[in-house]
């Protein structure tokens, strides 16, 4: 009798699980995010900018503010990384040194895009910390870090986005 009752229970649970799985919308995965990091060399050298930078989501941003000082933007590297919550992602940078990004949390509010909180650190080649910051930004938005000089009068720019 008990075995029979267990059979009935399992059948009921299986059907209920299948129905629930079908009916409930997929839960958002907040445990990890995708990082996109561009390393950019800004200069006044001759020649066109990298097509990915002149036509992509960064195009408008690189023609305003302090970036108007340069006419050519070259993509030194692009990194696509998956960042788990509270696990730092470390990316080696082209000029030397490294970038560390820590995804801290995701904030939701009605009528607004999700906001993600990141801690970002840049270390120099010698291991000394150059920059340490915590930023909140919308999903899919870019924020930029610039100003470090490169040889030839160029400037090094980092563009970081997360989704």
């Amino acid at each position: 009798m008990i075995r029979g009752a267990q059979n009935a229970l399992w059948i009921a649970l299986g059907v209920a699980f299948a129905i629930t799985l079908h009916s409930v919308p997929a839960l958002a995965d907040d445990a990890s995010v995708k990082l996109t990091i561009y390393e950019i060399r800004a200069s006044n050298d001759k020649g066109p900018s990298d097509p990915e930078l002149s036509k992509g989501p960064l195009a408008k941003k690189l023609h305003k503010g302090p970036f108007r000082s340069w006419s050519k933007f070259e993509k030194l590297a692009k990194h696509d990384e998956k960042a788990k919550r509270l696990e730092a992602v470390v990316v080696p940078l082209q000029p030397g040194g490294k970038l560390s990004v820590l995804y801290r949390d995701r904030m939701k509010s009605q009528g607004k895009k999700d906001r993600l909180r990141l801690s970002v650190a840049i270390d120099k080649k010698d291991g000394k910390r150059r920059l340490d910051t915590t930023v909140e930004l919308d999903v899919g938005d870019f924020f930029l870090v610039g100003g470090s000089p490169l040889p030839g009068g160029a400037t090094y720019i980092l563009a970081i986005s997360v989704r």
Binding site: G4, S23, K64
Partner: protein, 208 residues
């Protein structure tokens, strides 16, 4: 000598009398021709009834045996009996049904539980469907186009999702100065937040 009473005679013939009572009826029978005739008649009637009952019992035996087999199988199916105690089923009977017969037997044995499970699942399904927030109501009319009425629950009109520029909570720059700039967006674009590092020229060792 008078013939014995009919009741005493029947008890005597059935062997229910003992000792003195039996001897008394026997003595009375010996002296009564009428009593002996009645005794023979009763004996013949008893024989006829006994024979009839035996024949009826012989006829009922196979049916009783089949009924007991079914009872034992049900007891075994409910787990009350062990595997070894299961009634012997001829191999030919097992093999003849094949896999479909086995499946049918399985459901037959658990019909009650499958029914219970299905009813419970149906109840859960009804609850899920009833409690799920409605998104649209579809009204079907025979021979007419499908009419979709939306929305049912939504009270607020759809508004574009607002964006905000990145906000810098903390900033620490070594061997230089850090500035936080906001570049205004246009055509609906977000403002862009920029951290600009102004390196300390005296300690400049390299690009980063």
């Amino acid at each position: 000598m008078t013939r014995p009473d009919d009741i005493d005679l029947m008890q005597y013939l059935d062997g229910e009398l003992e000792g003195a009572e039996s001897a008394e009826v026997e003595a009375a029978l010996g002296g009564s021709a009428d009593g002996q005739a009645v005794a023979r008649s009763l004996d013949q009637v008893s024989e006829v009834v006994r024979t009839h009952l035996e024949l009826a019992a012989d006829d009922a035996d196979p049916r009783l045996e089949r009924m007991w087999e079914r009872v034992e199988r049900r007891i075994h199916a409910n787990g009350a009996a062990g595997e070894d105690e299961a009634p012997a089923v001829p191999a030919s009977a097992k093999a003849s049904g094949g896999i479909f017969a086995a499946i049918r037997d399985w459901f037959e044995e658990r019909r009650g539980y499958v029914l219970t499970g299905a009813v419970t699942a149906a109840a859960v399904a009804v609850l899920v469907l009833v409690l799920r927030p409605p998104t649209e109501r579809i009204v079907e009319r025979p021979g007419a186009e499908r009419i979709v009425k939306v929305p049912v629950v939504q009270k607020n009109p759809i508004v574009p999702v607002k964006s905000e520029p990145a906000a810098v909570e903390e900033l620490s720059v070594n061997e230089g100065t850090g500035y936080i700039l906001t570049i205004p967006g246009d055509d609906g674009d977000n403002d862009t937040t920029v951290i600009w590092i102004d390196p300390d020229e005296s300690k400049l060792e390299g690009p980063i």
